[in-house]
């Protein structure tokens, strides 16, 4: 399976994590693609932290509304039943546990569920935006990212080395190589991307992965 196919698998796999009516906030990049990969019959309500619920698809050309953009600054739409609000309400929704799940990218994630996603000291310091609140407030935190960095550097670690976005808040990590759940004992590799073996995934992972069938019940 080539990289592109595995990325498609990743997106589809994340999309299976939701149930009907879930309120979900999708981060910029790979997470955004999840909205178009939902299983037949499942509808979720997308929250945009800049201030509305019911994010719809991008508008038709010529129908852009400069007041209706998503948290990434791109033109968006609001679906029927959606609503707008100020930033205080938006983060009350996020921090208050009213978002069922958030899907975010990551620079690093580790076996304790720590997440680093907002800065590389001395290099890139874009700021945390709403990510720190999302990771603390959403009921479920799902990381969707490529398993390895562009330079083949490891991203699924024993311990994050970059400044954290939040401590021990990640629940699930979905990469182009597999699906890992954060458990009290470490990362359990629940699923392996088609065509890969456990050993191949482990070889690209600093954290020790747990095989589901080897867990004591």
């Amino acid at each position: 399976m080539d990289k592109e196919t595995r990325m498609e698998w990743l997106v589809k796999r994340v999309a299976q994590e939701f149930k009907m009516g879930d309120v979900v906030n999708l981060g910029i990049g790979i997470p955004t693609k999840v909205a178009n990969a939902l299983p037949e019959g499942i509808k979720i309500i997308l929250q945009s932290e800049n201030g509305y619920l019911g994010v719809g698809p991008a508008p038709e050309v010529g129908k852009e509304d400069s007041d209706t953009v998503n948290a990434g600054g791109q033109y968006a739409t609001i679906l029927p039943g959606g609503c707008s609000f100020d930033s205080a309400t938006s983060f009350a929704i996020i921090r208050g546990g009213h978002v069922d799940a958030t899907v975010l990218g990551a620079l690093q994630v580790d076996e304790e569920g720590n997440l680093a996603s907002w800065m590389i000291p001395g290099k890139i310091v874009p700021g945390m935006g709403g990510a720190m609140d999302l990771v603390v407030g959403a009921r479920r935190v799902i990381i969707a990212m490529e398993h390895c960095a562009k330079n083949d550097g490891l991203k699924v670690l024993k311990k994050c080395t970059l400044p954290l976005t939040a401590a021990k808040q990640v629940n699930l990590i979905v990469t182009d190589m597999g699906v890992m759940e954060v458990t009290p004992n470490g990362l359990m590799l629940k699923e392996i991307a088609p065509g890969l073996t456990f050993e191949e995934v482990q070889a690209c992972t600093e954290a020790i992965l747990i095989e589901p069938d080897k867990v004591a019940v």
């Binding site: 007041d67 983060f91 709403g130 990510a131 720190m132």
Partner: protein
Amino acid sequence: MTKVIGLEKAISKIENGMTIMVGGFIGCGAPSQLLEEVCRQEVKELTLIANDTGILGDAMSQLIVQHCVSKLIATHIGTNKETGRQMSTGELEVKLVPQGTLVEQIRSAGAGLGGILTPTGIGTIVEEGKQKLVLNGAEYLLELPVRANVALLNAYKADKVGNLVYRRAARNFNPVMAMAADLVIAQVDNIVEIGEIDPDDVMTPGIFVDYIVHKQSQEVTDLG
């Protein structure tokens, strides 16, 4: 007793060295003409409190490009590379704050609270220098109020006593900032008579707003 005022006069009330809050989220809902006038009047040494510094080329970004700002409190600066450049050279002092924390800090100031306790930032460098409280076994950071001398806002509609109505995602920080500054200036697309906005439709009560500037429909000079 109308609050409608000219652009130049409104911005002349901002003095060098003041702290200003500016509404908007990556340009959406930012008071572009007020910001352009701040640049034109060459106000300097400002402390800017805003979600971000816009996208390079837009009105918000020009505050940074034109060196009007010496200190910045924001949540995200990735869409304006000049901000990052000035931060790395030390020209600009930057404090990054989680978005939900920043908006609550501003709300605290406006609502007369001494601060709020948030779980956001626990276990991260955001903790540094802050008081931590443990309540029922959970850790929280004490985040203090943030207020400004002047708030620059953008709204879709105002009546002449300053009641404001926002549209869609352009609301964002604007209503919260309206409560947390000594002087509040709003740029609005439409001005209507008193009584034309239903009381239930008002999003920012007019008592918070000192001046209203009618957005000019003509193209403004590109300051880029």
